[in-house]
C-alpha cells in the first residue's frame, strides 16, 4: 500500500491502481462503503452498555479508528480510478439504495473519520472532566451516531438517504454540543436546533419537489432526468429550497448565526470534531446538488449560483475575519474564523471553474487540518486555564511551550504561510481567481486582505499567550507534561505535523480534489 503518488512527466500525479494492489488482501473491499457506515452505527448502541470508566471512550475510539482505516483504504482505492458503488440488498441503482464513493466523498471521508479519530484519541481527559461518568456512555454513543451520520451523507448516492443521515448527524451533534457542563450551550444548541431543523426541512421540501417532477431519488438518475423538466417552476423552487437549506447547515454567511455560540459552549473536544467536519459535510452536499443534480435544472443555473453565492462568500470572508479580530473569547474567535474559511470554500466554488472547485475542495481538507488542530490546542489550554477567554490564557506559552508551538503551526496554516497545508489551498484559490478576469483580481484582493486579518487575530492570541501575565515565570517547562494529558499532546502534534506534511507532500489530497473538481464540473477523467 503506498501512501503517496508519483508525479509523472506530464505533471499529473498517478497512483498505482489501489484496487488491484489491495484486492488480494482485502476480500471485503467491495463492502467497504457499507462497512464505513455500519462500523460506527453498530458500535453506537454497544457503547451504551460499557459503563466502567473509560471503556466507552476506548470502544468509541476503536470504532472511529477502524472507520478511519476504512476511509484510508477507500481513498487509496478510488484515487485516480473509478468510483466504488454498492447496491444495498443487490437492488439495482435507480430502484434500490445505492452507496457510492468517488474522489470527492473519499476526501470527505478522510476528513470526517480522521477528525473523529484524532479528537477522540486525544480527548479522553478533557471529556472525562467535562462529563459526569454516568453520562459518558451516552455521550460517546451520540458521538458515534454523529460520525455515522456524517459518513453516511458522504457515501450516500441517494437524496433521501442523505436527508436521513443528515438528521442522524444533526440530532447527535445537538447532544454533543449540549452535553457539556456549560449551561449556555443549551440556549446555543436550541438556536442550532431550530435553524438546523429549518434547514433540513427546506432540503426535504426541495427533494420532494424534485421527486414529484422526476420520480427518482438517486442523484445520478436525478441529474439525467431533471433536464427534461428544466426551467419548470417546481424545479426552480426546489433548487432554491435545497440551496438555502443546505446553506443554513453549512453556516454560510448570513445563515451562520447558530455557529459561534454552538462552537464556543460545546465541550472543547466536541468543538474540535465538529469544527473540522460538520459544516463541510453540508457544503459537500450543497456542491453535489448544485453542480451535479441542479446543473441542468435551469438554463442559467451556474450564473445564478455564482451570482447569489459569490457576494455571500466575500461578505462571509470579510465579516467573519473582521469579527474574529475583535473577539475576546478564543473559541468564539476561531468560530468566526470558520465562518470566514467557509467563505473561502464557497468563493472557490462560486467561480464555477474547475480550478475554483479544486481550490474549494482542497481547502475543505486543509482547513479541517488547521482548525481541528487549533481547537485541540484550545482543549489543551483549557486543562489549566479557567476558560478560553483571551485574558485567561495570558502567558500560557510559558507554561506549555510545545503545545503553544503546535498552536502557532496550525495558526500559520490557517493564515496560509508557505510550508503549511493552508498555503496550498490559498495558492490554488488565488490562481483560480486570477484566471477569472477582472473581477478575479478584486477577489484576490479580498483573499489577501482576509489573510492579513487572519494574521491579526492569530497574532492577538500569540501575543497574549506569550506576553500577558497570569501563568507566571514560576512555571518551568517540565510541568508541561504534568499539565497537558499526554494523549492530547500527541494528538495535537499529530495534527500540527500533518499541517506541515501536507504543506510539502500533498499529493493525495491534491489528486483527490482535482478529480473531484473534474467530476463535479461534468467531465470526469
Amino acid at each position: 500500500m503506498r501512501s503517496k503518488g508519483r508525479i509523472s512527466h506530464d505533471g499529473k500525479i498517478r497512483f498505482a491502481r489501489g484496487e488491484a494492489l489491495l484486492a488480494p488482501h482485502l476480500p471485503h473491499l467491495p463492502h467497504l462503503p457499507m462497512l464505513q457506515v455500519l462500523v460506527p452505527l453498530l458500535m453506537a448502541p454497544f457503547v451504551l452498555l460499557l459503563h466502567p470508566r473509560g471503556l466507552a471512550w476506548a470502544a468509541a475510539t476503536a470504532a472511529s479508528l477502524m472507520a478511519f482505516a476504512i476511509a484510508v483504504v477507500l481513498a487509496l482505492t478510488v484515487v485516480g480510478d473509478a468510483p466504488l458503488t454498492y447496491q444495498v440488498g443487490r437492488w439495482p441503482a435507480p430502484y434500490g439504495i445505492e452507496l457510492r464513493v468517488d474522489d470527492f466523498s473519499a476526501l470527505l471521508l478522510l476528513v470526517i473519520t480522521g477528525a473523529s479519530s484524532v479528537t477522540l484519541l486525544g480527548g479522553w481527559q478533557s471529556l472525562a472532566r467535562a462529563l459526569p461518568s454516568a453520562r459518558q456512555p451516552y455521550y460517546f454513543s451520540a458521538w458515534l451516531l454523529a460520525l455515522t451520520g456524517f459518513v453516511g451523507i458522504a457515501v450516500s448516492a441517494d437524496a433521501f438517504n442523505i436527508f436521513v443521515f443528515m438528521e442522524v448527524s444533526s440530532l447527535a451533534s445537538y447532544v454533543l454540543i449540549a452535553g457539556g457542563p456549560d449551561r449556555r450551550a443549551l440556549s446555543a444548541v436550541f438556536k442550532y436546533l431550530i435553524m438546523g431543523t429549518v434547514g433540513a426541512t427546506f432540503y426535504l421540501v426541495g427533494i420532494g419537489l424534485v421527486y414529484m417532477m422526476t420520480g427518482t431519488l438517486n442523484l445520478a438518475d436525478m441529474a439525467v432526468r431533471i433536464s427534461d423538466v428544466a426551467d419548470t417552476r417546481p424545479v426552480l423552487l426546489a433548487a432554491g429550497f435545497i440551496t438555502v437549506g443546505l446553506a443554513l447547515k453549512a453556516a454560510i454567511f448570513p445563515l451562520h448565526i447558530w455557529l459561534p455560540n454552538a462552537y464556543a459552549y460545546a465541550p472543547h473536544i466536541a468543538t474540535a470534531f465538529l469544527a473540522a467536519c460538520a459544516t463541510k459535510v453540508a457544503l459537500y452536499v450543497l456542491l453535489r446538488f448544485d453542480f451535479v443534480v441542479l446543473q441542468h435544472s435551469a438554463s442559467e443555473h451556474a450564473v445564478q449560483f455564482a451570482g447569489y453565492l459569490m457576494p455571500l462568500a466575500v461578505l462571509g470572508i470579510l465579516v467573519g475575519s473582521g469579527v474574529a479580530i475583535f473577539e475576546r473569547d478564543l473559541k468564539r474567535l476561531l468560530a468566526f474564523s470558520s465562518v470566514a474559511q467557509i467563505g473561502y470554500m464557497l468563493l472557490g466554488a462560486s467561480l464555477v471553474t474547475i480550478a475554483g472547485l479544486n481550490a474549494a475542495i482542497l481547502h475543505m481538507f486543509n482547513h479541517a487540518l488547521a482548525k481541528g488542530g487549533l481547537f485541540l490546542v484550545v482543549a489543551a489550554f483549557c486543562t489549566v486555564a479557567a476558560s478560553s477567554q483571551l485574558e485567561q490564557i495570558g502567558g500560557i506559552a510559558r507554561k506549555m511551550p510545545w503545545t503553544f508551538a503546535a498552536f502557532v503551526v496550525c495558526g500559520l496554516s490557517l493564515i496560509g504561510v508557505p510550508g503549511t497545508a493552508g498555503f496550498l489551498s490559498k495558492w490554488y484559490l488565488v490562481t483560480a481567481a486570477l484566471d477569472y478576469g477582472a473581477l478575479g483580481i478584486a477577489l484576490v484582493g479580498v483573499i489577501l486582505v482576509s489573510s492579513l486579518m487572519a494574521v491579526v487575530y492569530i497574532w492577538r492570541v500569540v501575543e497574549s499567550a506569550c506576553f500577558a501575565g497570569e501563568f507566571g515565570d514560576d512555571a518551568d517547562s517540565d510541568s508541561e507534561t504534568a499539565a497537558v494529558p499526554p494523549l492530547l499532546f500527541i494528538a495535537v502534534w499529530i495534527v500540527a505535523l500533518a499541517n506541515l506534511y501536507f504543506g510539502l507532500a500533498s499529493a493525495l489530497p491534491i489528486e483527490l480534489a482535482a478529480s473531484a473538481a473534474n467530476l463535479l464540473m461534468g467531465n470526469a477523467p
Partner: protein
C-alpha cells in the same frame, strides 16, 4: 562531500543545531555556547566548501520535493547566493562570539531560546540564498520573518512587544499582499518560477505589466526596506544588539535586497527589463529612499535607530545599483552586499558594546567615550568610514563600482544621489566620531559620569575587532568576492 550533500547539510545543520542548542541549554550555558560556536563553524565550513566549485563555474543543484505539479522545493547555488550564504555563515561565527559577551554582560533572560532561534534564522537565510525558484525563496523568506519575530520581542516588555508587532505586520503583510501575488502571477504567466539566466518572463509579459509586476516584487519584498515599507527596520532595533547586528544589518535585510536582485536578474532578465519603464521608476524610488532615509538618520538621537536608518539608505544603494541594469553596477550591487555587511555589523557591535559597558544608547551620551573604550570606538570609526565610502575601507570598493555603473548607465540621478548621500552619511556619522574622541566627558551638564567603565567583555571586543579588520581587509582582499560577482555578468 558532494555538492548536493553540502547544500542539504547547510540547510539541515542549523535546524538540527537549533534543537541541539535547546537541549544543550539544559546541560549548561557553556555547553550551549560551545554548541552554537561549533554549529556556526561547521556551517561556515560546509558553505565555504561550495565556493571553489561555484567559482569554477559549476552550479550545483538539488531538488527535494515537488509540492504542487510544476512547483518544486529545490535549491541551486549560483554566484550571488554563494556570496550571500558565505557572508552570512562566516559572520555568524563572529556574531556568536559577540553574543556570548553581550548576552552575559547584560544578563539577558531566555538565552537558550535566543541561541536556538538564531540558528533557525541562519538556516532560513541559507535557504533564501540557495533557493532555486521563487516558491522556495518565499518559503524561507517567511520562515526568516517568523523565526526572527521572537528575537525582536526578546525582552517581552510592552515596548518590545509593540515594536515586534510592527515588525511582523509590515513584513508579513507586504509578503502576503504583494510578494505572493507577484509570485503566483509569475508562475501563471511564465509557467515557471525557476531562477533562469536571462529571465523567464521575456516574451511572455510585456508593456505596463512588467512595471507593475516589478513594483509588486520590490514592495512585496519588505525586507529590502525600500520606502515606504521600511518602518519594520527601526522597530526591530528593540532587539538585543547581536540580533540587530547579524540579522538586521546582514541576514534579514540582505535577504531582501538579495531577493530583489535575483528577481531582476533571473526572473525578469536584465535585457527584458531594460526596455520597460519599471526599471527607471525603481531607480527613482531607490534614490528617494537613500536621500530620505539619510535625512531621517540626521535627526535621530538614539544610536541604534540612527544605524537602522543608515541601513535603510544603504540597502537602497543595492536596489538602485541593480536597477541601473549595467554590468559594473551589477557587480557593485553584489559587492556592496558584502562590504556594507562588514561595516554595518561593526557599527552595531560597537553600539552594543557601548550599551553593555556603559549602558548608553543616546548619541549625546557618547561624549569622550573613546577614551574609555578605545578599541570599540576605533572599530566604530572604521565602520563609519566604510559607510561614507572613504578608503581604505570596504565601502569604498563597492561605491566605486556603483559609481562606475552609474556612469555606464549615464544616469545623472544615480550619480547625484550617491554624492549627496555621501555628504549626508558624513554629516550624521562624523559628529558621533567627533563627540567620542574629542569632546570631554564632563562637558555636558557638568555632572560626572554615572559609572566608571572600560571596554565590554572580551568576546564582544574581539568580535568587533575582527569585523573592523574585515572592513579594512576587504579594501585590499576583495578579489575572491569580485571574481564570484563577475560571474553575474553572464546575465547582462
Amino acid at each position: 562531500m558532494s555538492a548536493e550533500l553540502a547544500i542539504l547539510a547547510s540547510l539541515a545543520l542549523p535546524l538540527a543545531g537549533a534543537v541541539l542548542i535547546a537541549f544543550a541549554g539544559r546541560i549548561g550555558v557553556n555547553v550551549r555556547e560551545a554548541a552554537t560556536m561549533l554549529i556556526a563553524g561547521a556551517l561556515a565550513l560546509i558553505v565555504w566548501s561550495l565556493v571553489p566549485a561555484v567559482a569554477a563555474g559549476e552550479r550545483p543543484q538539488v531538488s527535494v520535493a515537488e509540492v504542487l505539479p510544476g512547483i518544486e522545493l529545490a535549491f541551486a547555488v549560483e554566484p550571488l547566493g554563494m556570496l550571500f550564504a558565505a557572508l552570512a555563515s562566516m559572520l555568524w561565527i563572529v556574531n556568536s562570539l559577540y553574543s556570548i559577551g553581550y548576552m552575559r554582560g547584560n544578563e539577558e533572560a531566555n538565552q537558550t531560546r535566543f541561541y536556538a532561534l538564531f540558528a533557525v534564522s541562519l538556516g532560513a537565510t541559507v535557504g533564501v540564498a540557495f533557493a532555486a525558484n521563487l516558491f522556495t525563496l518565499f518559503l524561507f523568506y517567511e520562515v526568516l520573518t517568523l523565526s526572527t519575530y521572537p528575537l525582536v520581542a526578546h525582552k517581552g516588555d510592552r515596548q518590545s512587544v509593540a515594536s515586534a508587532r510592527v515588525y511582523l505586520v509590515v513584513l508579513l503583510s507586504t509578503s502576503i499582499v504583494l510578494f505572493l501575488p507577484a509570485i503566483i502571477w509569475t508562475y501563471l504567466v511564465a509557467g515557471s518560477g525557476d531562477f533562469t539566466l536571462g529571465g523567464v518572463l521575456a516574451g511572455k509579459l510585456e508593456g505596463a505589466g512588467v512595471g507593475v509586476l516589478l513594483l509588486l516584487f520590490v514592495f512585496g519584498i519588505g525586507k529590502a526596506a525600500v520606502m515606504p515599507v521600511h518602518p519594520w527596520l527601526p522597530a526591530a532595533m528593540v532587539a538585543p544588539t547581536p540580533v540587530s547586528a547579524l540579522l538586521h544589518a546582514v541576514a534579514v535585510v540582505k535577504a531582501g535586497v538579495f531577493a530583489i536582485t535575483k528577481v531582476i536578474i533571473y526572473i525578469f532578465g536584465v535585457e527584458h527589463l531594460a526596455g520597460a519603464f519599471g526599471a527607471d521608476l525603481l531607480v527613482f524610488i531607490a534614490a528617494f529612499t537613500i536621500i530620505a532615509a539619510s535625512i531621517v538618520a540626521l535627526r535621530q538621537t538614539n544610536l541604534k535607530r540612527l544605524l537602522a536608518y543608515s541601513t535603510v539608505a544603504q540597502l537602497s544603494y543595492v536596489v538602485m545599483a541593480i536597477a541601473l541594469l549595467t554590468p559594473l553596477a551589477g557587480i557593485g550591487a553584489a559587492v556592496h552586499i558584502v562590504a556594507h555587511a562588514f561595516g554595518k555589523i561593526t557599527l552595531f557591535f560597537a553600539a552594543g558594546a557601548i550599551y553593555t559597558a556603559a549602558h548608553k544608547t543616546e548619541i549625546t551620551e557618547l561624549r569622550g567615550i573613546g577614551r574609555r573604550m578605545p578599541v570599540t570606538m576605533m572599530a566604530f570609526t572604521i565602520g563609519a568610514l566604510s559607510m561614507i565610502g572613504v578608503p581604505p575601507t570596504g565601502g569604498f570598493v563597492s561605491k566605486w563600482y556603483i559609481l562606475a555603473g552609474a556612469y555606464q548607465a549615464d544616469s545623472m540621478l544615480a550619480l547625484v544621489t550617491i554624492l549627496a548621500s555621501t555628504v549626508l552619511n558624513a554629516a550624521y556619522l562624523l559628529p558621533i566620531i567627533y563627540l567620542a574622541w574629542f569632546a570631554r566627558e564632563d562637558e555636558g551638564d557638568g555632572t560626572p559620569p554615572a559609572r566608571v567603565h572600560g571596554e565590554a567583555p572580551w568576546p564582544a571586543v574581539l568580535a568587533l575587532g575582527l569585523t573592523a579588520a574585515l572592513t579594512v581587509g576587504f579594501f585590499v582582499f576583495h578579489g575572491a568576492a569580485l571574481d564570484i560577482a563577475r560571474q553575474l555578468l553572464a546575465g547582462f
